[in-house]
Symmetry: C2
Subunit: 321 residues, 2 copies
């Protein structure tokens, strides 16, 4: 059994503003930071939005809180459920706990330890599954049937997308006009929300979505003009192994978001540089935008560039390359 | 040949205020951060001062800039010199570069890579030596004789101590009244500067200096009431292997600073927890206060506690314990 894709309309900029109001008491307004050393390396003016310092260690709480707080009482009373390799699962667990409802999270056995630990910390019910999309979906379908819980997908949902857009909104408010806004892209929730904000408020800026070359479905989809399936992703950026949904693909295509690729080697180097120069722990997925810049500095030379450091839930053992 | 200890008087609180003015354009006012998760673990209200996000990755730039900017023109023209296993050397290199004078840094071969790299980045002249105090001192004496450079010690200097005190000043301004202020102690510059600030402005707070049990000269000195030598330190807290000087010992004793110890195991765990829960890269030395709290939570239970995260220059490879 598979879970059908959402057929909802994309969220509007107004939905992002509403999300901001709804989640304000529950999420941090994370700081922005700069690094002279990384500016020199890229010949650009970089402004980093530190969603690694966000509650639960990733931007995902924004969408999760917006979805959970937006549910009616009766729907909420049966709890919420999702499948997630990590950050969305922890975010949903936290949002459910703060609303006082149950959360059920289907977690592939391959999930990194720190992400699994975070889900446990918020007292969600963890249901293990094999590390395949088919297993995730069939296990989740069983959970939904058994519990009557409401499914909050990791990205394929207008409320989730609107919530993720609040990170870009804050970054642009704090940093002022930027030439470019870089985000990592996996399922496309953060990239979609960012594109909606930029189009509405900062139309001179462009959104650039960075993706591991070894998990390049978004890049291929934009090239082909139709949504392409993910082919066995093989990347350390464990948060970016999912493919776009019809909804997120449509938003990225309609907003002409550019997708660029980064090699595994560059991702590891960028993760190390952020830790070494900025003293911030980031997970590999969060380093993908900087990795893509370093691989082709012409992309950013002389530009003012916002970068969303999407999360910090890395297992230990980062070593210099 | 050995370098004589300073015979200068301790700096006053006014010297700390003057230092703040002198260095303001050169150092960051670093943020404070809190962590719900670490509050739960310690049953205290912790406020962390993020000197790991300071320029050069450690509080040491405060003292180095205060010393370098306080030199007269003629004295400065011959450059500055020091011996350092890392952070002070990088800080002095940066301060000298910004004043446009030469820096000579004697570095033991055992220095961690990221610290040596930072010294190189600021174009200091690096002079290698064996990893013993005798070798550091005789090598430095040769450098001073040859160059006529002014010696800026890592801690045994009123201007350096006054500069380090500015970190505590900012923390107490930003966090409001605190029951306790915790700092790591090696040579005692940060602890001394903090004690002077607290005594002058926040007399109800107490300063607690945390030291590796495997490098416990400060603890033994306070117990004995006379300065005790360091006995072959064996700790991952590479910044805390030096012993107190007569000047810093006198300041800590006169201010009744309490010294507490942390095991190597607790230091490693605390370093991991700060990275895992706060997403901040810290070096082992910076984790020693939290380590000492976790080993004996009665020390902080129910208290409001400031903690100076002294630096972030850790080599890669931190793994969970």
């Amino acid at each position: 059994m598979t879970i059908p894709w959402s057929e909802a309309a994309p969220p509007s900029f107004g939905d992002v503003l509403a999300a901001r109001e709804r989640i304000a008491r529950h999420v941090h307004r994370t700081p922005i930071m700069t690094s002279r050393s990384l500016n020199e390396l890229t010949s650009a003016e970089l402004v980093f939005k530190c969603e690694n310092l966000q509650r639960s260690g990733a931007f995902k709480v924004r969408g999760a809180f917006n979805a959970v707080l937006g549910l009616g009482e009766r729907q909420a009373s049966r709890g919420v459920a999702t499948h997630s390799s990590g950050n969305h699962g922890a975010a949903l667990a936290m949002a459910a706990a703060e609303r006082g409802i149950s959360a059920y999270v289907v977690v592939p056995e391959s999930a990194v330890r720190s992400k699994r630990d975070a889900i446990v910390r918020w007292h969600a019910n963890i249901i293990d599954c094999a590390p395949t999309l088919a297993s995730r979906e069939s296990t989740l379908a069983g959970v939904l049937e058994e519990t009557g819980a409401h499914y909050v997908p990791p990205f394929d949902d207008p409320r989730v997308i609107a919530g993720q857009g609040t990170a870009a909104l804050e970054l642009l408010e704090d940093a002022g006009d930027l030439d470019q806004l870089w985000v990592p892209v996996g399922g496309g929730g953060l990239a979609s929300g960012s594109a909606i904000v930029v189009a509405a408020q900062y139309p001179k800026s462009s959104v650039i979505a960075a993706e591991p070359a070894n998990a390049d479905d978004a890049w291929r989809s934009m090239e082909a003009g139709t949504r392409q399936p993910m082919n066995s992703p093989d990347t350390i950026a464990d948060g970016l192994q999912t493919s776009l949904s019809p909804l997120t693909f449509r938003i990225l295509r309609d907003h002409e978001v550019r997708v660029v690729l980064a090699s595994e080697k560059a991702i590891r180097r960028a993760q190390y540089l952020i830790m070494d120069r900025m003293k911030l722990v980031v997970e590999p997925s969060a380093a993908v935008p900087l990795a893509a810049m370093l691989e082709d500095p012409d992309r950013v030379r002389g530009q003012s560039v916002g970068v969303i450091l999407s999360g910090g839930n890395a297992d230990g053992g980062v070593v210099p390359t």
